[in-house]
Amino acid sequence: MIEVRRLVKNFGLKPVLRGLDFRAEPGEFVALLGPNGAGKTTMLRILATLSRPTMGEVRVAGYVLPGQASAVRRLLGVVSHQPLLYGDLTAEENLRFYARMYGLSDGARRAVEALQSVGLGPRRRDLVRQFSRGMQQRLAIGRALLHDPQVMLLDEPYTGLDQDASSMLDDVLRRVAVAGRTVVMTSHDLPRAADLATRIDVLSRGVIAASVPQTEITPAGLIDLYRQVTRD
């Protein structure tokens, strides 16, 4: 579903991604871990077609990026750590806006369904400005699922969430994963990543330094691996 070969991304003269290789099969849930500045967000932005690779090959669902970026966008659902929501509109209005941007004809129905699925049904007429961070994140996921994407990209979605909100997010993501979508999620939260993902990759200094299926490693083992790979 996602194929990345020798991906290089430079900002001006500064290299961030240095020849990165990555794969994700359909239905996989990949947790992408790594220290700050390793390039996780950069990589996700490139996959999300928000940024262009300096060099290298990137393919999503068979489409080549950046050339066929517009075709790919239809298949992507992206959740960033910023909510990407308009504070002066209600939850429902935000979703209906995005439904129209995605060319969905039954936007109203989908918006209501999405709100229900993330547990925000009763709050649909409230302004997003009044939502807590947790609620905004849930709404953001609802937005990302509106057009039923095949690939979900999440950039540190748990940032700033309290315990309740995090548990809710867990539920939503488990359901999302079960539906057969391909998911790539960056995170700082090792135990949670180990719990949700089918595979765990560690990005360090611009390349994937380690990749291990979830069944082959324990949470403790993961912490050791992470430390080992990011130390030198």
Partner: protein, 233 residues
Amino acid sequence: MQPIPRALKVLTWVSAGLFAAALLMTLFYAPREAVMGDVQRVFYFHVASGWVGGLAFLVAAGAGVIYLLRGSRRWDAVGLASVEIGLAFTLANLISGSVWARPIWNTWWTWDPRLVTASVMELVYIAYLLLRQGLEDPDRRARFGAVYAIVGFLSVPLTFLSIRIFRTIHPVVVGNNDPTAQGAFDMTPPMLQTFLFSLFVFTVVYIALLWHRVRMQALAEAVEQRKMKLLSA
């Protein structure tokens, strides 16, 4: 550090020589103008500076287009260098215009199309540099610079047109042979020769400066790269 390429060395010496020659021509070879006197000699360098100012803008806009299409940092350097040089020459144009205007029209400034357009061009140049200065990301700096250079370049002729329709007292040197037009004058052959020679010399000087500046930019980037390699090792 790479040495200055031979061609550039030659060009630099040649432009210096040509400039000295042009200076001598304007001061001694060109005849004294009947009505305006010696101050008219400013005219040769005044127009030549204005010409380079416009040329530099054209080059900057063209480099912008090429940069947006190709993405090569070399073209961004050309655009930036051209703007910087154009800024200096347009300033020279404005100042020499003032120096010429004072004795002739008894004023330091005249609100006529050419002078105002030159000032607007100068402001666009400055805005370009301020835009770049306010951005951190070098790629964004290059892209936005290119976009603004293109937009700015396209607006200048329209500005000129609008002011032209608005008013005019600038002497029409080429074309309009009406001697009663205030400040206008006919050019005798030696004057014409000096004029064309000045235009030529200033163009050569522009190219030399451009080349030097682009080269400096490349060297600066090489230094940046080495610095980063050292810091990350």
